[in-house]
């Protein structure tokens, strides 16, 4: 018999809320260049911080139907010039969740990943969806 685990919507909501609500109050997303670390517990080394977009006090709305939407992000001016390749969601100074940045087939899609210092960097929406 094939492997076929299924999780209820209620349980998926619980998991998403537990994982992401830690960003409430002090959440942000930071955009970096370089190689994405192996995981969110691996320290950032030579990667350069390009921009920081603060999240709203309620960083993520309550999950529903196994999906959770982020609140508004504050647009910011880039603090360095480079090519954006990955991001990290932060709870204050603690990195929580990493993902890829690009112009297609990535976790965070920008119109351009070539960021010049001072550029306007905006995150216009983010959704986390847990598979059934």
């Amino acid at each position: 018999m094939a492997l076929n685990p299924k999780l209820s919507a209620a349980s998926r909501n619980l998991a998403l809320n537990a994982a992401l609500d830690v960003m409430n109050t002090t959440g942000s997303i930071k955009i970096y260049d370089g190689t994405q670390p192996t995981d969110a517990d691996t320290a950032i080394a030579a990667q350069v911080l390009l921009a920081t977009n603060a999240m709203a006090a309620t960083a993520w709305a309550a999950a529903a139907a196994g999906s959770k939407a982020a609140g508004a992000f504050t647009a910011a001016n880039a603090v360095a010039s480079s090519t954006a390749t990955w991001y990290g969601f932060f709870n204050n100074v603690t990195r929580v969740w990493d993902g890829t940045v690009g112009t297609a087939t990535v976790n965070l899609v920008f119109n351009s990943v070539a960021i010049a210092s001072g550029a306007n960097v905006a995150v216009t929406g983010f959704t986390a969806t847990m598979a059934v």
Partner: protein, 129 residues
């Protein structure tokens, strides 16, 4: 009680287990071996295989009992027959259907975001966000 035989392809790590209800034939050997060789860029009918002849010999004797496969690593070079008790024919048929492939392409949680970058000099640029 049923009896089965497992050919375990062991190149760079365990790659393939294939179970046979009957003692595998030469063509069975060849089929599994070719699958294994293909992973290393060789053809079983190619001249290059001569280079790996020793390796092939080792593979050929790595027939182990099903219980060995399930419970422990087989002793290299041993040729074991095993009569297993609790495994019924339906279970064996399931194993015969092939290894279970994880559906790793689907991440546990998908993260999808959108954003924009407006560099200095581009329309709509704001230097004082």
């Amino acid at each position: 009680m049923a009896k089965g035989y497992v050919f375990r392809g062991q190149g760079l790590g365990v790659v393939t287990d294939k179970v046979y209800l009957q003692w595998p034939s030469k063509s069975d050997f060849d089929e599994v071996m070719q699958r294994e060789l293909s992973l290393h860029g060789f053809s079983i009918n190619g001249d290059e295989v001569a280079v790996t002849k020793r390796w092939i010999r080792v593979q050929e004797v790595e027939l182990v009992g099903l219980q060995d496969v399930l419970d422990a690593e087989p002793a290299p070079g041993q040729l074991n027959e095993f009569v297993y008790g609790e495994l019924d024919e339906a279970s064996l048929r399931e194993i015969l259907a092939g290894p279970r492939e994880p559906t790793g392409a689907t991440p546990l949680i998908e993260m999808n975001g959108t954003g924009s970058v407006t560099n200095p000099g581009e329309p709509g640029y704001n230097p004082d966000l």
